[in-house]
Subunit: 146 residues, 2 copies
């Protein structure tokens, strides 16, 4: 999956910049990449500066639209509850993510944001894509810091 | 509670600007108001531009800190899962909110973000403050638009 090559490179660049290596992209139905972003918590000094939220915001800006109804969110790690709900609020059609995150994920773990009857919009979800590589990037990053 | 007077005014200003009337503030332990914000989904063209997320981001900027460990988040409506998780990620100490939101809330309804064993940081929560006024603002806003 070509988008994951791009995201893995971007996540590696994040790690080189001292950021947790997670990268995301928002891609329109016609294949246009509306936005890419990596985690920027350190650079922005803001613990909410997750790759997905940054990419979603940038895609809304690029589209001049508050919704992204035809779009797919690609991300190297299972989104947390914040990013999952951001995808729901912006009506993203599909989420394709890399490594499962049993500790911090909010899609198939923890809060399972899309699984509640009150969830107004639940994107289609495909998880575990390039799981080994996406997960290894994170493991290597945290091991090097210990 | 004086902060709620401020927030109710700010929420009314949001309604006048065509935004869903929800307002939030982040207040430091010493009482300094680090940031206030109202919902700005229409103005920013971004469905993630919730009052709480905007206030949290502005407070991080004001503090030049990715965490807000001594801070209280005040908001006129129960936060959604996105904003609840944003409060958890920034290690906000306490959340004091107005109206309960059985349809869109993610604290005491829906995803109940802080109630899972994987939640790394769960702020103290006080809900239902000025419930009647905070809720009436929203009801009036949506009734006027129907």
């Amino acid at each position: 999956m070509n988008m994951f090559e791009t995201l893995l490179s971007l996540a590696r660049a994040a790690a080189d910049a001292g950021e947790v290596p997670i990268a995301a992209a928002v891609v329109a139905a016609d294949g246009t990449v509306l936005a890419t972003a990596h985690n920027a918590v350190e650079a922005l000094g803001d613990a909410t500066a997750h790759a997905e939220l940054l990419a979603i915001r940038a895609a809304c800006e690029a589209r001049q639209s508050k919704y992204l109804e035809d779009c797919t969110l690609y991300v190297t790690l299972e989104p947390c509850a914040m990013c999952a709900q951001a995808a729901s609020l912006t009506k993203i059609k599909k989420i394709i993510y890399g490594a499962y995150d049993p500790k911090g994920g909010g899609v198939e773990h923890g809060a399972r944001v899309f699984s509640h009857p009150t969830c107004h919009h639940a994107p289609e979800v495909i998880g575990g894509v390039r799981q080994a590589e996406c997960g290894a990037l994170l493991r290597d990053f945290f091991q090097a810091r210990r």
